[in-house]
Amino acid sequence: MSGRSGSPTRPPPSQGDDPPDLSSLIPDSRGSTEIPSTLPPRASDADLIANPEVRHGEFRQVLEELDRLSDDLHRRPGPDAGKTDPIPVDWDEGTADATGSSPYLDERLAVASVAVSSLSRELRELGDRWHGVQEAAERVEREIGHASLESGFLRSAKEIDEIPSGSSSVPRAMRVASPAPLAAPARKPSPPRPTQYGGFTVARYNATIGGLKARRRRLAWWTVLLAAGISAVLVALAVLAREPVPSLWLALLPAVWMIPVPFFVISFFSTQRILRRNDLDMTGSP
């Protein structure tokens, strides 16, 4: 004997034999999702939906706590542990060996360590799942918003339909389909991946068109003033140069510069006109 004495009611496991059966201590997936009662006070469900950071904060605290516990459990007693941490006087004789350490300590430490690791892993997975739930909640919220807009839109369109055709200035044939509409083919629900086009919104369109419309007059004035200034300088330079008239065939060549003038003048007025007409304004941004 090496000084190890057994207890009559609970024989100690022999060191170096088969490892203990820990399966009953490793939590299953159902149990792992239950939040331990020792966690900080839970926020209400409404708070969690509104403030997912609260739940994330809780998870972080629990994980830190478990990591600390795991570290503590892994720390084995040193050679002089018995001197600094004597065996309690009421220690059961059958559970202690001659050196003063418990025969169950290693086993318990191992089991606890496995359990803590498992719990830690399960909690991390729970955190990931919570993130998915949060995204799903956001999606539901967005879709409910869209559905609300959609139903309001359908109601208003129905009201327009009910107006007698003669009372509307809008041609009904253009507004509402006469024959039965085409049914879209069966779709496999799979949200497309937004890339660059994800940013092409009405808000950006309105900002772009609105900006150009806002500077329309300024643009027109600057064009006229700058054009007049440049032309004046060019004409002045030509006059001051006092050059002799070149031969006729050469002198006519610059007439080619006049060809696009009508095109540019029409373009200038066309652009101004269409910006003034409000044809491009888009209201009712969803």
């Binding site: 839109f153 041609p171 085409l182 004409v235």
Partner: protein, 383 residues
Amino acid sequence: MNFPTVLFQITAIGKNVRALEASARSVLYWVRHTPALAFRHRLWLVVEPEGYRTAPNVYEELRAQGAEVFVVPREYSTPLGTSGKARALQFAVEQRQALGISDTSAWVYHQDEETCVGQDTLLGISDFIQDGRGLVGAGIILYPLDWLGSPSHIQELTRSYDDFRVLDSMTMPDNPTMGFHGSHILVRADVEDSVGWDSVGYAPAEDLTFEIRVRARYGPVFGVLKGFAYEKGAFSLRDQVRQRRRWVHGVMWALRRSPELNARRRATLLYSLFTWFSALPSVIVLLASVAFHYGPLLEVTGIFTGFIWVSMVTGYLEGFRLHSEYVQRTISLSRFVLHGMVGALVDVVAPWYALATRPSLGDFIPKDRPVLADEIGGRHVPG
């Protein structure tokens, strides 16, 4: 309640698979994320067999998500025997007729393979149909996708600003400055299918031919489509010049082979072409003026020079401002000016290049930006 159907139709060879996939997905994404749309939607991808073969998995994936893929049979031919994009467009017309959807309740929104839509595009389409603004609508196209600030990309900025001129002209009775698009246009299905896209031989600018026919048959039924479409410019100067060459050939084709073109519109078209052709001689004469001293004549021409210069610079600046909400990449002023000049020179040379070469059916303009392996990640690599 009955809503009309908008058929988002992407007609292309189909080899620019990533661009096409993004365009299709932009439709699916924004239809899903835009409430209060007054239409039902369908997504049609009309591609050539060689395009489909490039990445069948991509097409099948899109099909699984709601797109309807039509591969134009190699043996298919139109009554007049047209080729190129017009052939595929005519094939789609016949498909609609066979399905019985060429009526007033269906609209066709035309996209190129790189035409992405946004929330504004869809609401603009919905608004156009509800308001009964016309039978054909066209809007402004921006070019922010994969924008790099290269000379060809800088040059595209001016096209967006020029679209204001295009839209104004298009809505006037005779379209005095010949404005129209081949993409970002909405056409009521019965109108499109009655006019069709068929022509004798290859029509390099099928959109121009279509506009001429619709106007001749239905009159001024064109309206402004609110909302932008989002495309990408050519990646290289070579592609830019080939694209412009096709336009020039298209205008020349329309001048020669469009019996629907009345004398006034023919003159307008001719003037537009002449204006473009005059750009290269203008530059040459400008350089020559230093040597030949055109002093006295400059006293007359100089009056208009300022206006033309300012108008051109305004096109670049306002074009850039239109894109500023969408383009993340910044570019220094010096590079902007330099690239703008290079891009403009390509446009100056393009019509003369077109004159010296023949229309080519095989002009394939790459729109798929080369991507690095880490950008692709775990995704498929087309081809």
